[in-house]
């Protein structure tokens, strides 16, 4: 914390040009601007009265008139320019303003850019324009956009990467809400392609734009109950039995498993999956570390897929 004196000196230095720009301002208003009491401001004015140029005679000292409730500067003793921002102050302001300017959904980026130009000019070159650059990460860009769509009740068109299907698709979504779970941001809304409520991970939205079209969530569409986590396996989902090598034991923690038993070096897990696509990709890439024990059709389908992929390689089909 700055001590009273550390705060007082900059205030004293700033007071003269401030008052000069506002002849006849009321003591109360000036005190409010400097965030001090009226009594403190009067003390400051009394002190300023005794400050000035060497010589200390009449005509050297700052002269203020603060009879009654208003203040005016009679003689400024050369203190006519406001105190410059220190490099640290200017830098903090420049970084904050650039972050604002980068934030999408901000109504008036022009005002931010004008303020930025002023601060940079006022800093008198203390902050080199080319040394500061602020870029928002993906989610910081998307969050305000999605939030705005929700607030304004508008649909969103987006390109979304579905990990379970390993595919990017274009969707139109009527957004319902944003939520955070396990450190990730999600958008929940009505997906017009899937014709159902869906949850989208923000970091998997590649592009998004807010449409002029109003969002229309069909009546009766229920948001997901999040009390048990984002994903809860349902009994209608496929039950898959997997054998995991030790390098893939993480699967048992990463996905919601129904049963986990140790088997040799590895694990045997059963889990419910809505879309077996991710299991297929997991097994194909695992170098034999993950094996589907049941259902048979999934295990067989993966073996066939691997053989089909191998056929495309000249050295593959041995």
């Amino acid at each position: 914390m700055a001590t009273a004196n550390e705060e007082r000196l900059p205030r004293l230095l700033a007071l003269v040009p401030y008052l000069q720009a506002r002849p006849g301002i009321s003591v109360a208003e000036a005190a409010a601007d400097f965030n001090v009491g009226e009594a403190q401001l009067r003390k400051d004015l009394t002190l300023l009265w005794m400050c000035g140029l060497p010589g200390h005679g009449p005509g050297d000292l700052i002269d203020l008139s603060f009879e009654g409730e208003t203040v005016s500067v009679v003689f400024d003793a050369g203190m006519s320019r406001p105190l410059r921002l220190t490099a640290e102050e200017a830098l903090a302001l420049v970084v904050a303003l650039r972050t604002l300017a980068e934030t999408p959904g901000l109504a008036d980026t022009d005002a931010v850019r004008r303020a930025l130009a002023k601060v940079e000019r006022a800093a008198g070159g203390a902050v080199d324009d080319s040394t500061v650059a602020v870029e928002l990460d993906h989610n910081e860009r998307l969050l305000p956009l999605v939030q705005r769509a929700i607030d304004d009740g508008r649909a969103i068109r987006m390109r979304y990467y579905s990990a379970s299907r390993d595919e990017v698709s274009e969707r139109t979504v009527d957004p319902l809400r944003l939520f955070e779970a396990d450190g990730r941001d999600y958008l929940e809304g009505w997906c017009r392609q899937a014709e159902g409520m869906r949850v989208f991970r923000l970091d998997r939205i590649e592009d998004a734009e807010v449409l002029a079209e109003a969002a229309a969530i069909p009546e009766g569409a229920q948001p997901r109950d999040l009390t048990e986590g984002v994903f809860h396996p349902a009994s209608e989902h496929l039950l898959v039995d997997l054998r995991l090598g030790s390098a893939y034991a993480w699967v048992a923690d990463y996905y919601v498993a129904e049963t986990v038993t140790e088997e040799g070096d590895g694990l045997r897990v059963t889990l419910r999956v809505a879309d077996p696509g991710w299991v297929r990709a997991l097994v194909l890439g695992s170098a034999g570390q993950v094996e589907v024990l049941s259902p048979d059709w999934l295990a067989e389908g993966i073996r066939t897929e691997a053989a089909r992929a191998l056929d495309a390689y000249p050295i593959g089909a041995k």
Binding site: S162, D166, A281, A312, Y313
Partner: protein, 101 residues
């Protein structure tokens, strides 16, 4: 904010993506792979590709096993073309998946 060193002691390097660096990429030890993709799948490969030309992706990578796993995971939807050690790594994984297991 704390001042360290003199003003302009450093020049801001051109085109440094800090977010990318923190994410563990962009350290300059990458190699280039070429992967042919077909159909609607292989979304992850398409996402990380630097460019796509007539269904052939150019992908920067530093972890060959990670990329081999991802290519094999895409099944018949992705075919590794280059470099040869990547092709071998993918084939090895696919053989394991096609085998008795």
């Amino acid at each position: 904010v704390e001042l360290v060193g003199r003003p302009r002691a450093f020049e801001r390097p051109e085109k440094v993506d800090l977010v990318e660096m923190v994410a563990g990429r962009g350290f300059g030890d990458e190699r280039l792979a070429r992967v042919r993709v077909s159909g609607a799948g292989a979304g992850q490969l398409r996402r990380i590709a630097r460019s796509e030309d007539h269904g052939v992706l150019t992908i920067e990578f530093s972890d060959i096993q990670w990329l081999a796993r991802t290519i094999a995971g895409a099944g018949a939807g992705a075919l590794a073309l280059d470099p040869p050690d990547l092709v071998d790594a993918v084939v090895e994984r696919l053989r394991a998946a096609a085998g008795a297991g």
